[in-house]
Subunit: 206 residues, 2 copies
Amino acid sequence: MTSISIIGSGKMSSAIAEVATRAGASIQIIRRSTSSSSGDRPNVTYGALGDELTGDLVVLAVPYNAYPSILEFYRERLRDKVVVDISNPIDFTTYDELKSPADSSTAAELAKQLPEGAEVVKAFNVNLGDTLTAGTNGTTTTTVLFAGDYAEAKIAVADLIEASGMRAVDVGPLSRARELEAMGFLQIVLSALGKTRNESGFTLLQ
Amino acid sequence: MTSISIIGSGKMSSAIAEVATRAGASIQIIRRSTSSSSGDRPNVTYGALGDELTGDLVVLAVPYNAYPSILEFYRERLRDKVVVDISNPIDFTTYDELKSPADSSTAAELAKQLPEGAEVVKAFNVNLGDTLTAGTNGTTTTTVLFAGDYAEAKIAVADLIEASGMRAVDVGPLSRARELEAMGFLQIVLSALGKTRNESGFTLLQ
């Protein structure tokens, strides 16, 4: 069975926990504080920042600008993990540009900072949270686009997605994260403009 | 009534001619040679490279690397036209990168080269030709994403799209062409990998 650690406790953390629940995965959520909250899931083990990561898959469900502080705690402990980068590094003051280098991506920059053995997969960044929670995008099954350089890591992510009842589409090597981040940015802009609902958005039709 | 000149005679030229036909537009197609062919449309006026452009909208339906030779003929004559850039400047030897500058787009680079008065709109580059010809993407109405800096130019393009029975979605200023080109690139890669059919592809669900 897949095991997953989700670092972060915002909307995307919750959406991915729901995906992992549908997939029957063993789930850990790492948050700032250990205190329980009324929204806690019975099937999730909660931990605090700095606690050991129990999942083989580790999802960074925090804003891009929180990556440095997460890496302070976990850089070495991400060795031999599949690290899932879901970020859309948008400048939210202007909604007019990505903060990642124009010829790169958050995912590729993250990969450079991790120890050997950590395998980065870009995934879920072109999905608004509600489409993951529901498993549907408009009237279709939610499609999750992902990219990465390591076959086994990609299979693990695809298995999680498909076990949760969604469709997984491999778009290629981690260098394609640049295009996934452009798409994620565009979708968030369209969402902010009211041109897509929270329950729908971009998809790849069959 | 809208009038449109389409420069180029390949698959996208034909697809956009079909869109313009459905929209009831007056259509001119500019091609290398004036000789007629069996596929000629009765509702289209054909011209040769160098002939006057009769359309208010001018679609560059040629590969990106043919732009310099088109501009030799037409740069000055694009003044006061709405210039529609549909290109996906992919390196087709590797399918691994865009040829436009990483922090810009074909559309933005084109705009810099045109005389004042020419108004560039990026459109149709995230649509595989068959989805324009049919007006459908999978089981949905085809959605055309477009970007530009001039309101009237964008309205003219949106009117053409909607009069043809498709859905037009304004994604913002011409700087968003960078993201549209990333999306177009990704779609062509997925199409080449057999992960989308010619009759479907990316869309924005409602």
